[in-house]
Symmetry: none
Subunit: 416 residues, 2 copies
Amino acid sequence: MNAAILTIGEEILIGQIVDTNSAWMATELNNIGVSVRRIVSISDSLEEIKSTVNELFNEYEIVLVTGGLGPTNDDITKHALCELFNAELIVHKPTLDHVAGIFAQRGLPLTELNAKQAEEPNNCEVLFNPKGTAPAMLFRNGEKILVSMPGVPFEMKAIMELHVIPEIKSKNSTRVVYHKNIQTFGLPESFLAERISTWEQNLPENTSLAYLPSPNAIRLRLSTTGTNISLIKNNVQLQIEKLKSIIPDNIFGYDDDTMAIAVARLLIEKSAKVAVAESCTGGTIAQLLTENSGSSKYFLGGVVAYSNSIKVEQLKVSNADIEKYGAVSQQTVEAMAKNVRSIFKSDYAIATSGIAGPTGATQGKPVGTVWIAISTPQATVSEMHTFGGDRYRNILRSSVTALNMLRRILLEEKKG
Amino acid sequence: MNAAILTIGEEILIGQIVDTNSAWMATELNNIGVSVRRIVSISDSLEEIKSTVNELFNEYEIVLVTGGLGPTNDDITKHALCELFNAELIVHKPTLDHVAGIFAQRGLPLTELNAKQAEEPNNCEVLFNPKGTAPAMLFRNGEKILVSMPGVPFEMKAIMELHVIPEIKSKNSTRVVYHKNIQTFGLPESFLAERISTWEQNLPENTSLAYLPSPNAIRLRLSTTGTNISLIKNNVQLQIEKLKSIIPDNIFGYDDDTMAIAVARLLIEKSAKVAVAESCTGGTIAQLLTENSGSSKYFLGGVVAYSNSIKVEQLKVSNADIEKYGAVSQQTVEAMAKNVRSIFKSDYAIATSGIAGPTGATQGKPVGTVWIAISTPQATVSEMHTFGGDRYRNILRSSVTALNMLRRILLEEKKG
């Protein structure tokens, strides 16, 4: 089955709120095998509501509408639907009793505006709103349904869960859509695409692939439709196994995994602890490691050595080396990693030193240059990377690249 | 002028991401007096792209399209636009040079897929993308414009700022909508609303107020429409002066100011440096202070003392005190602040110790309990706060509250 979502109101069109209602509804519909083909936002204009609802209801099997059902004058969805479906507004007694009860409970008189909320189109099914005064309306056209709900998120969600999802499920018991995310890092999008192109071309017909890049990862999403969920899951797992043999080093996790979570798992597995010595990343690696609950199991802490004096005094980096090679150098970053590991008595240590920008570039070291070192019980190794010109991205990419470097080392050790 | 926004890609339709791009574009368009009438999301389907773009471009003066311009097979926006506008794809030399340059800088070969990103429709204006490889395309029809941009948020924003907003501004010079943001912290939304209700009721008729709460701040947005921008700005400034007299301690900045920027300004003003000792905030205060360029002027660095052993060994907190009072205590956090200030030789220091959750609560110290201390050349002071149950919010609110505490102290010192 296919569906469209329509939100009515100015708040989205002026950018005042982000449309989280549609994202929530889309997720719920996907979970029960409904394919959302279109999401539309329009303003509270009678003509626009009528023409857009009409168009969507002609095109799609399910149309979910939110917004414009409040008690004030700018809320006109109900009137638009009446005109469109040739309905009349009549008092809906159970709604009136419900609204009157809410006001009585609060010791407030029932205003005329609120009483009007109990008037409903005479040819729809009125859906009870357990969290508010305005009920939802369900219109049918053959097998098709259109539901108009309030835009207040928790009222909409309650109505979806109580009425709409069960109604759709009862129509659509057989079809399933399954999504699986594969988190990759270390290959730019175009290289990744080339490397896995044969695999991609040989995906089964009911399976599609999407690339979702961010500074943290390139997420690959496999979407499969079918009728038997366990069969689908098995088939997706088969595809993942094939992919793993093509890019074994680049897959660090699945679904909501982050690079920090992948590193955490490996550290916990060997009861090892890590410390950090951060210059250009300014605390971001520590922040990524601690944003997950339970991080005290593997993270001891670290030094944010933003100034050279801290590198020398706290991390015992040789002042002569900093003068000779610079703070952004292999010598400095390796000393930072090695020394923080010994000072903090950790098993592993991560160090960064680079030029996040926009200022600070020197001859031969453009903005985006970063040295990363990992110190282990066996050795201290380092890499230089050159990222781009954007400060925010440089800091984030440096941090994730450093965590990935530790991940690769931990995996190598695991192999033995 | 009116506009429509179209996003292309499955991620929004399956609810995987929330459509923040459209909200950002809508805000920007509103800021320059353009009324957004419709926001639409569709999938990467050739026919749907063609029919929807055609419909929107017939109806609206400005159509902004994002998504579907990546190098991979699922990205087909360019082909759809070619078919719709009867164009042919030809190599765009400046784009090819730009893409080749990016790859050369990273020491990578140029793949065929990437070279294809430099092929553009022969009847559009190619807009340079300063943050990525895929440029944007601008098509004209009389006075109307259609711009197709990549969906990666920071690439889209860069193209909007560099090309699209100036282009639209040049068309649309008479009507002005002016928005001014006032950043507040320290009063919950309902308290803030009550405190400023009289001021709000007396705002001029052409001015509206919106509350935009986040864990970092409650942003108040004043929106004013008119024709004379300097007159509007003067009137808004008058309202802000009135507001400042009502909540003098709670306004920390304007527009894109963050709490870290507000603190940075005060530190730079007195050429003072700050260091941090972070336990529960795990590097987040350092990260907030260093995300802005030029932070080495006022930030020396710090210790992320996640484990108690680091608090004792690196920050010289008394082990006996930790055992007696606990790591989350006034004694511990004050020692952390005082000692990091002396060890790092900074003028000011910030320290945090708390229970970010979801685990770690003890008798009398629920999840969300945090001690914050500020050490200054004169004294060390501390406060206890109790936030909620959510780890992410606890870490962020603790960090911003700590920065705000330093801000209030710096302001007090300034008054003398």
